[in-house]
């Protein structure tokens, strides 16, 4: 099990948080802590989450899977400062 802290920018759309949490659950990702707060831009929220990954699963893979979610605008791996910029 490896631990990573991720920071996501989500669009403030109904179901956006649910989609992220379901993705974690579907992909066997453990959630150790999670907090959601309004971001600087009013139409976005910041989701900070600490996740545990099973052996053989990489955080890069998880970041790409999060990047597929339409309501995710940006994902930053706080552990390595690796960012997946998805544009505005």
């Amino acid at each position: 099990m490896t631990r990573h802290s991720l920071s996501l920018l989500l669009r403030n759309e109904p179901g956006a948080l649910a989609r992220i949490v379901v993705l974690f659950s579907s992909r066997g990702v453990e959630v150790e802590s999670l907090s959601l707060a309004p971001a600087e831009r009013g139409d976005l929220s910041r989701l900070d989450v600490v996740v545990g990954l099973q052996q053989g699963r990489t955080v890069v893979q998880l970041i790409k899977q999060l990047g597929r979610v339409v309501d995710v605008k940006n994902v930053v791996d706080g552990t390595h400062d690796e960012a997946l910029e998805l544009g505005a």
């Binding site: 179901g15 649910a18 379901v22 893979q61 790409k64 899977q65 339409v70």
Partner: protein
């Protein structure tokens, strides 16, 4: 205020180019059906919403357009769950429109209320619930764009009944075409270099090549390089079966040459494919000597199961065009082709006739392929008949084989054929189905009969859940627990059932009748035809890589392991 939410929905669907909806009305979606009555959009009234979903998938894959299905709230919507999961797995662009209880009732356990957005979260690319009727045109346009762009997939639009009923002003949606990913020139150069220096390369081609419409580019690139091609279950038809560079399908029931090509390769050029476990077998033993170039439009697929040495995010068509432009010469692959040619000669696909004198299922499918030809569309359910349809139908063009690959949904064939035929009325459409699968969704034949959708269904009736029985034979000491369906005892009688559903019902039990009955079925154009091909119950799908073993243990037939025994 010139319309209602429902009017805006139908107008928006017309404006985004929807020509057919497969669906069934009910309470919450009822407002949408009123303007639909006056629309130029064709509505095919299904008998079960699952049929609507698979029909939308069949339509999408036969036409390359977005398929649309519609259902009411609650059970209507939950009946779409399987097609949505199927479309998600196989990257099929469909839009599902569901009714929902009125906004004020949401969350009160109202009659026919189901939280379909939450239920389908892990199996949709995206979903919407619209709360303002003015948003409907924009949401429909976005749903179509999302479903068909990037890696295609299913999108759900949930519409509360009162939103459909509320007055609004129609604003035509802006239809946007998202740009395709820009290829990395460095990765293209790296890929070209690897291809140039490899001695045993192979194109490992997946369904993405069909989705991106890249079959021509693939052929050009393959002919330019002389590199052998394997096409996965989802890619059958992406490269002509008659082409000398084609080694067939890899995977659990792939050909020996195709599996060997992957196992002995020094380079996999993986295009629009996701290293599915049915292709790789035991992952650590998959293609052990190969470097990997992996091109896919979905960055999350690259290095998911097998680490890519060169990962290219892009549309397969662009990737192959770029590779064609930089690859200038053929490498000498004589030794590689000598090896593969030997396997092609020694291990062609083949089958034995059943010892009990019954009809060989493979023969039936071979003859349908021969008589209907490559311009026909073939669909399949899931199981033995699906594998034989992948092996023994000869595909020459993309979109000619429509099946449930990733999800493995039994009952897919009939409704998918219905959708395919609605989208391609001038083509012959054959559903190759099993007797188990057929009993899951055959009610849609009543739809086909009523709607004038003259599909042909070949039931490969072996009396059993054949694939499960095969595993019981091989791995459970022949203990046939709950796999006998009684269909050889005519529970049901498929000919009578076909007749009752408004179809022509035919039966065939011997080799000498096969051609005649297939031609008889093909001569019927005014209604669907069902042929009950009564075949032996002991026929098995070979070659086979047993689950949990490495591809080197592929058995050409039971006990014959050509790669394992190979002396290198």
């Amino acid at each position: 205020m010139d319309t209602t939410g429902a009017g805006a929905l139908i107008k928006a669907l017309e404006d985004v180019g929807c020509e057919v909806i497969f669906g069934m009305p009910g309470g919450a979606i009822l407002p949408a059906y009123d303007p639909l009555f006056d629309s130029k959009i064709r509505h095919v009234l299904v008998r079960h919403e699952q049929g609507a979903g698979h029909a939308a998938q069949g339509y999408a894959q036969a036409t390359g357009r977005v398929g649309v299905c519609m259902a009411t709230s609650g059970p209507g919507a939950t009946n779409l769950v399987t097609p949505l999961a199927d479309a998600y797995m196989d990257s099929v662009p469909i839009v599902a429109i569901t009714g929902q209880v009125a906004r004020s009732m949401i969350g009160t356990d109202a009659f026919q209320e189901a939280d379909i957005r939450s239920i389908t979260l892990p199996i949709t690319k995206h979903s919407f619930q619209v709360h303002d009727p003015a948003d409907i045109p924009r949401v429909i346009a976005e749903a179509f764009t999302l479903a068909s762009s990037g890696r295609p997939g299913p999108v759900l639009v949930d519409l509360p009944k009162d939103v459909l009923a509320t007055a609004t002003t129609y604003t035509p949606p802006k239809i946007t075409t998202p740009s395709r990913p820009v290829l990395s020139p460095v990765q293209i150069r790296n890929a070209a270099q690897l291809i140039g220096s490899s001695k045993r390369p192979v194109f490992y081609v997946g369904g993405g090549v069909i989705r991106s419409g890249a079959a021509q580019e693939l052929r050009k690139l393959a002919e330019k390089t002389g590199i052998p091609v394997v096409t996965t279950l989802m890619a059958r038809g992406a490269f002509p079966d008659s082409h000398p560079l084609h080694l067939g399908m890899p995977g659990m029931h792939g050909t020996v040459p195709a599996v060997a090509a992957l196992q002995r390769a020094d380079l996999l050029i993986a295009l629009g494919t996701r290293f599915d476990d049915r292709v790789t077998g035991l992952l650590p033993e998959f293609a052990p000597h190969a470097a990997v170039i992996h091109a896919d439009i979905d960055p999350a697929e690259i290095s998911k199961n097998r680490k890519a040495d060169v990962g290219i995010v892009g549309d397969c068509r662009d990737v192959m065009a770029a590779l064609s432009a930089v690859i200038t010469r053929k490498t000498d692959l004589t030794d590689w082709w000598n090896y593969l040619g030997g396997l092609l000669t020694t291990y062609p696909l083949g089958y034995d006739w059943p010892a009990d004198g019954m009809l060989a299922p493979q023969y039936v499918i071979e003859r349908i392929s021969k008589l209907a030809g490559p311009e026909a569309i073939y669909t399949a359910g899931v199981g033995q008949h699906q594998m034989w349809a992948a092996q023994y139908v000869k595909y020459e063009r993309p979109g000619s084989f429509i099946n449930s690959g990733g999800a493995g949904t039994m009952g897919f064939a009939v409704p998918a054929a219905m959708g395919a035929q609605a989208g391609a009325p001038d083509r012959t459409v054959w559903a190759i189905d099993g007797d188990g699968c057929f009993q899951m969704t055959n009610q849609e034949l009543a739809t086909c009969a009523a709607e004038g959708i003259p599909i042909k269904v070949a039931i490969i009736n072996n009396g059993n859940l054949g694939m499960v029985r095969q595993w019981q034979t091989l791995f459970y000491e022949g203990r046939y627990s709950n796999t006998r369906l009684g269909t050889h005892q005519r529970h049901p009688d498929f000919v009578k059932l076909a007749d009752a559903l408004g179809c022509v019902g035919l039966r065939c039990e011997s080799q000498s009748e096969v051609d005649g009955v297939v031609l008889e079925a093909m001569a019927v154009h005014d209604r669907p035809v069902v042929v009950d091909f009564v075949v032996g119950q002991d026929a098995q799908v070979w070659p086979m890589v047993a689950a949990g073993t490495g591809n080197d243990e592929i058995m050409a037939a039971r006990g014959i392991r050509p790669l394992f025994d190979e002396v290198e």
